[in-house]
Structure formats: structure tokens, C-alpha cells
Subunit: 233 residues, 2 copies
Amino acid sequence: MGVKERKEREKLQRAQDILEAARRVFESKGFLNTTLQHVAKEAEISVGLIYRYFESKEDMFASLALKGAEQFDKDLTEVLKNGLEKKAPAKEVLGQTAKAFFNFYSPYGEYFDMLLYSYKGLKEVQIQGSTLTSLMSVTLGSLDQLKTFIVASPQFRANNEDEALKVVFLLWGMLLGCHKLFDGSGRGQLFAFSQEDFISQVIEQIMVGIAEPTPTIDSPKNSVSISNKGLSI
Amino acid sequence: MGVKERKEREKLQRAQDILEAARRVFESKGFLNTTLQHVAKEAEISVGLIYRYFESKEDMFASLALKGAEQFDKDLTEVLKNGLEKKAPAKEVLGQTAKAFFNFYSPYGEYFDMLLYSYKGLKEVQIQGSTLTSLMSVTLGSLDQLKTFIVASPQFRANNEDEALKVVFLLWGMLLGCHKLFDGSGRGQLFAFSQEDFISQVIEQIMVGIAEPTPTIDSPKNSVSISNKGLSI
DNA sequence: TTTGTTTTTGAACCCCATTCACTTACTGAA
DNA sequence: TTCAGTAAGTGAATGGGGTTCAAAAACAAA
């Protein structure tokens, strides 16, 4: 009874084909300008058939984002594993993380944004579909990976789960923000530096801080013994 | 001929009334669930009249965001002026900046996000309306204020425009990201800490860095003379 | 009052996402 | 090979909502 299995496979494949077609159209036209007619044409099927494979247009977005998030999670695992094994400098690991993040977020983050956005808009109607739930759960998994890495690596100040979690959110927030800054608005071109350069410098700054090591000129009062570290918060 | 003036005033007032009505409806229903019929009803006018005052629904969003951005810019000016005059600790100033940012971004940022988003979606059709242009320009003005502050304050490592700009973007990105983390997705409740606490700790971390001050145990090779500062990148 | 202008209205228009009655393709059994 | 039953696929119809427009109402000036 290989028929059932074959059908199953074909069905999955068809779903993937539609998704890829959708991605192509979105990328060339942008979300709002893409109609399901366009997608159907690109996928060489009829409009109605889309609904046999996806609950809605939004669900297609979610599915794309989910694919991206899963890829990111896989990349992240790789990056962190290598980082620990080779005892690579933290900023290098974070740089690679950022790179993976943008690989995910540039094509898919838009969908992600939109989903978050529409989630909020729809919160009183219907909280979320299963695809969106999966998306959230994969994302939280990635955050957890990062947390574990930070606790395990001796290069970070944070050495317990709680502290590390905050660092993770700081990094995550920074990445989200940088993406918005550069990619989300098209303003990137206004800046004199590339995203890549910028990110690596931001990471550098996050590592060592932006404050002047010796804060004020007029307070030698509590310079008792910590003169050498100077930066222990 | 005070008639003309009165009409002028009434027109402006009417626009404001519509905008406020729109804001109320958006806040109670969310964007996507708000129709122009709703807004018209709330403003006690007919649907068509909205179009005498605003180019489109999107333009209403942009106008709301603009109001928010202008308020933020004003607040920021105040915060930074006080900070410099009173030589307040940098993290305090940044904390107040964050507060002002969220005051703006919580009610209006959603519109802002959406505009950025739709800007991207529509970039090949029509770049932008005048309201959106103003919004961008006000925002860039705020960023510039921050840059100037950072150059002027001795508490920051950065002491030239170029360095300071990067710090500004780091901060801005962090704020954007934190907003998304907490407010944009409703995930805030999942975390064990409040946005306010989180932000202040993030600022702390950004000031002093997340790296362990003495990076590795096995490199006393270049401890020539900078042993006291230890953190000069 | 009359005339010209501005404001206001709400029904009509149009663009989609979504649905649905229907057709076609396929499968397993007779 | 035929046939019933099911799954896959179609595209025109539906409905919601942003936008437009012709006409009415309100208003100003003469």
C-alpha cells in the first residue's frame, strides 16, 4: 500500500511548491502588492487550491517564517557548538549569530513582524493558529540555546541563568532593532556604514560597554581597592 | 475678515478630532479590526469626509505617529538638557530617554511599524507621502540630538561624531528591539520581569559591557602597560 | 434672494481574501 | 474494463472594507 504514502509525499511537496512560489512573489512584489491570484499563477494552480494547503494568506506567512526560524535554530546550534568547542572569542560567536539571525530575519522577519503585528491586532478575535504557535516555540528554543551558551562560556560576566537570560534579551533586542534600523525601513542607505560593519562594532561595544571606564573626575572617595577592575558595576 | 481664519481653525480642529477618534477606536479594537466606518461613527461624521482631511487610512496612521514622534522629540530635548546641566549619571539620562521612547512607542509605535512595513511593501509603487517624510525627518532629528549629547557628555567613551553615531544606533536599536520583545508581541507576560526593570538592567549592561573584564586566563603576553585600564578594547 | 463655493453625505466602485458548487483525476473493487 | 466513491482541482460568486463620486446641504458674499 505505497499509494497512501506517495500521496502523502506529493501533498507535502505541493505545499512546499506553493510556499516557494509565494516566497518568490513576495520577494519581487512585496507583501501588500501580492495577491493570491499572483501566487496561484506563479505556482501554476488555481486560487482555490491554495486553501486546500493553507488556512489563509496569513498562514502562508507563518509557514514561511517557521521555515526560516527552524533554519536559524539549526544554524545557531552549529555556531554555538563550534564556539564552545574551539573556545572562539565571544565576539566572533556573536558575530556569527548575528549573521545567522539576519539570514533568517531578512527574508522571513517581515512575515514575523507582520504576524506579531496582526497577532496584536487580532488578539480579541482569535489568538493564534498552530503554525504561529510553532513559530513562537521554535524562537523561544533559540533564545534558550543562547542562554545556555552564555552561562557555559567563561567569557561572559553573567554566570547564572537569570543573568544570562537578560543578556540574551539584550542581544536579541539589539539584533531586532538593528534589523529594523537597516532592513525594515530602507534607511540603511542613509548611513555611511554597512550593516555588517555596524553589527560587528555594536557587538564590540556591547562586549566592553559604552561608558568611560573611570566615570567621573570628582569621585576618588570610594577608590578603596577596586582600582584595578574599575568596572565591576 | 475673520471668517477665513475661523474656518482655518475649524478645519484644523476637525482634523484633530478625527485623529483622536481614530486613535480611540484603534486602541480599543486594534488596527486590522478597525474600519473607516468605525472611525467615522466615533468621530460623528460620514466616511467620505475623512478623505477631505486625510489622504488615506495609512495617512491617518502616519499623522498619529508623527504626533507621537514630535512629543518624543520634545521630551528628549528636555531630558538631555537636564542631564547635561545637572551632570546626571548617564544611565539615569538613558533611563529617562528609554521611558520617553516607550511613551511614544507604545501608543504610536504600532503605526510606526506598520508604516515602515508598508513603506517597504509599497516601495516600488509610491515611495511616500508628505506625512511619512515628516515622520522620518523628526525621527532623524531625535537621533541627532542623542548623538550630540553623547559627544558632549564626558561619561561616554565615544568623543567624536562618528563614534557617537554608532552608540546612538546601538541604543536606538536596543530600544526598538526591547519594545518588540515586550510590547509588540504580548510576550512580555512570559518573562519574569517587568519592562521597566529590564530596561534599566539592559542600560546598565550596555554601559559597562557584558564581557568578563579579564577575557582569558592564558594571555599575560601583552600586559605591558595598560594593566590599569584593562578595557581599552 | 440669488449665486457661487465649500462642506458633507452615503451609495456605488473596486480590489482582494475567502468560499463554494462543480468538474476532473484517481483509486480500489467488482 | 467498468464503476462507484473519494480526493484534487477549478474559477466564478461572495463579502468586507478602502476609496471615489455625484448630489445635497450648509454657508458666504452680494
